[in-house]
């Protein structure tokens, strides 16, 4: 391919928003001269230099309010930068909101023409694609019904169908890929892959980090209006997940302080959980297939006769990736009074790349939980980047 054909170029771009607290004429006049007191400024973006190359798929990620959507709007020309210049070439289509411009009183058919025209298709082109659009949306029986009678699913299906039939060189997508039911979502993803293979440039904002990992060949992490990481999605995601982890850690601290009083009253509790390597040293990062131990320190103020100890590994989103307990393992626990330390060894932990957290729990013999310490420790798994998901293995491709 012809490498290095830039299609979007931002140099020294900053965007300042002014939030005025007054909107009416009276307030403006009354506060005239003191108007600086009545407005707040904040910089949504600061000194962004960026070049996006043709045929690349770029993911913009970051916490809420980090300037992702603002950056996308700037590229789309919807808002103008306060300083700096945004230039681009080629035909651009922006999917910042599905069905923008749909009129509820018009029929599906009329809205297809209107929306297509808004996205830059001529009438002749829309005529040409019309059957394909309706077919893609899968709502043919309702195409001559007013869209206000559509279910929300039908609405976005039709809107997305129109959007993917425009012929852009650069496509801007803001959080709109996850629409409709699962088969339709798969159809949308297939369409995006087709777009990629046709050499179109896609810039997308997403909170689904897995989606970014799957689709993008470049990812930008934005934080407080600045680009923190620009590179491989793997590195960007790792950075962002670590950041999210830090934020959650703070919240957890606060929560623990709050719960402290309550927890002490229960008869037993999990004091702390550590993740250890084979040498018994605390572990922060590991590789797939390594041995890992989870050490749980528990404390019982009343004597526990029949009890269960549980440990587990969770994803950052809170999914249980792995979990086990002494009941499932068939290990009877000795009666416990005072402090006790237990270790659960997990040999050959074939976890996929990512950030994980560990929890420890105590339950009575009947299965009723006494105490659970979630997010008790964290560790990350770093791998070669050959796969995605929670599981790691060593795949081979064979021919014939």
């Amino acid at each position: 391919m012809v490498a290095g054909t830039a299609v979007v170029r931002l140099s020294g771009v900053s965007k300042r928003f002014v939030i005025r607290k007054e909107k009416s004429l009276k307030e403006r006049i009354v506060n005239f001269g003191r108007s600086n007191l009545h407005k707040e400024e904040f910089w949504a973006l600061r000194d962004i230099d960026l070049e996006i190359e043709s045929a690349s798929t770029v993911g913009l990620i970051g916490p809420n309010g980090s300037g992702k959507s603002t950056l996308l709007s700037l590229i789309g020309g919807i808002i103008q930068p306060t300083t700096g210049v945004v230039t681009r070439r080629g035909r651009l289509a922006a999917l910042l909101e599905l069905g923008a411009g749909f009129h509820p009183d018009l029929t599906g058919r009329e809205n297809v023409y209107l929306n297509a025209s808004i996205l830059g298709l001529s009438k002749a082109q829309t005529d040409h694609h019309f059957d394909a659009i309706v077919d893609f949306s899968g709502i043919e029986p309702f195409i001559d019904t007013q869209v206000k009678f559509y279910s929300s699913g039908m609405y976005v299906r039709l809107a997305f169908a129109v959007a993917v039939h425009v012929d852009p060189d650069v496509l801007l997508v803001d959080e709109v890929l996850a629409v409709g039911d699962e088969p339709f979502q798969r159809k949308c993803m297939d369409r995006i892959h087709t777009f990629q293979s046709e050499g179109r440039t896609i810039v997308l904002v997403s909170h689904s980090l897995d989606q970014v990992a799957e689709l993008c060949d470049r990812a930008l992490v934005l934080e407080r209006g600045q680009i923190q990481v620009d590179g491989e999605p793997r590195d960007a995601l790792r950075h962002l997940r670590a950041d999210f982890e830090a934020t959650r850690e703070e919240e957890r601290e606060r929560e623990r302080d709050r719960d402290a009083a309550e927890v002490r009253t229960s008869r037993a509790r999990v004091v702390r959980v550590d993740v250890l390597d084979t040498a018994g040293q605390p572990l922060k990062a590991t590789k797939p297939g390594e041995d890992v131990s989870i050490r749980v320190r528990v404390e019982a103020t009343d004597r526990l006769e029949d009890w269960i100890l549980g440990v587990g590994i969770d994803s950052p989103l809170g999914h249980v990736v792995y979990g086990t307990n002494t009941r499932l393992l068939g290990v009877p626990m000795p009666p416990l009074l005072g402090e006790g330390v237990f270790e659960v060894r997990l040999p050959h932990l074939w976890l996929g790349e990512g950030q994980y957290s560990v929890h420890g729990a105590i339950a009575e013999g009947s299965g009723v939980q006494v105490h659970r310490l979630i997010d008790a420790a964290t560790f990350s798994v770093e791998s070669d980047g050959h796969s995605i998901g929670y599981l790691h293995t060593q795949p081979e491709v064979r021919f014939g």
């Binding site: 928003f17 892959h193 793997r234």
Partner: protein, 308 residues
């Protein structure tokens, strides 16, 4: 996590090569004064299909669920005509001073409806389309312009009724007097559009504008010889400064032009001298105003998306 290996097809190569030949364009609209105007015109022209679709949307959506539908756009001016004819023509006796009062009033109302609809709906047009303005880049001029389109449609319908009415009244307009009609209509259009551009942009920043416009239109309605005649107004104002000020209002000239064209019974009545020349100058001034308002619009539109 892996980045997918896209097999970039030859189609992708071609796209890349084609893009490499294009030059970079700044996003959004440019601020240059003269070049900016040309750019705006080109932008709007390239979106003319969308413009016609927006006009259709407005017209279709307006009476979509009503049984009488399109008929309502006829009934409104007819009711207005009836009210003014009965209340002012009969009860207040305006009919005695103004021959064929029904035709006279309807002529003025038709002209007025075009202007007031463009200004009133135009003012709210950007705010009403906030969803689009915030999410997709379009030359924002299309929104006030689409209002002009639907106003023109209603206007044409009213003109047809008016012409039919003149036939019923037994005095159909003929000959050169009809030349006043396009001239008057142009003046209304140009001033209406200029105000629609200016006010729609200002309304984004200051929502009070739309209420101010209602009052302004009411005042303008009564300072224009629509329900009373020019003669009656001038009798009170005299031919001094007040009289000249009254004549300087382009709406007055436009309404008078309509009356010259369609109100055959009023042929003998007095009017301002050199109406055609006045209209010509006002049209020129209006075009300059339109251009200035469009430039203001272009300047203000840069921040529309964040102000809405």
């Amino acid at each position: 996590m892996s980045s997918p290996e896209h097999a970039i097809s030859t189609e992708g190569d071609e796209r890349s090569r084609r893009l490499a030949e294009l030059s970079f364009q700044p996003t959004g609209q440019r601020h240059g004064f003269l070049r900016g105007s040309a750019q705006s015109l080109r932008d709007v022209w390239s979106y003319r299909e969308l413009l016609s679709l927006l006009v259709k949307r407005e017209l279709k959506a307006r009476y979509k669920d009503s049984t009488l539908g399109f008929l309502w756009s006829l009934l409104r001016p007819l009711a207005q005509l009836l009210i003014y004819y009965v209340a002012l023509g009969k009860f207040l006796g305006a009919e005695r001073a103004i021959p064929d009062y029904a035709i006279f009033v309807f002529t003025g109302l038709t002209a007025w409806a075009l202007f007031s609809e463009i200004v009133a709906s135009g003012t709210g047009s950007i705010v009403a389309n906030a969803g689009l303005v915030k999410k997709i880049y379009l030359p924002r001029e299309v929104f006030p312009l689409s209002v002009v389109g639907s106003a023109l449609f209603n206007f044409i319908v009213q003109i047809v009724i008016l012409v039919l009415a003149t036939f019923i009244a037994g005095a159909p307009p003929t000959g050169t007097r009809l030349l006043y009609f396009p001239l008057g209509a142009l003046v209304l259009l140009v001033y209406g559009m200029a105000l629609a551009f200016l006010l729609s942009a200002m309304n984004v920043y200051l929502r009070d504008i739309q209420y101010l416009v209602e009052i302004m239109l009411m005042v303008l309605f009564w300072t224009t010889p629509i329900v009373y005649s020019w003669e009656q107004a001038h009798k009170q104002l005299g031919s001094g400064f007040a009289g000249h000020l009254y004549d300087a209002n382009p709406l007055t000239s436009a309404v008078l032009a309509f009356q010259r064209a369609f109100w055959v019974a009023g042929s003998g009545t007095e009017g301002p001298p050199h109406l055609a020349v006045t209209l010509g100058w006002q049209l020129l001034a209006g075009v300059a105003l339109l251009w200035a308002c469009q430039r203001v619009f272009a300047r203000l539109q840069a921040n529309f998306a964040q102000e809405l």
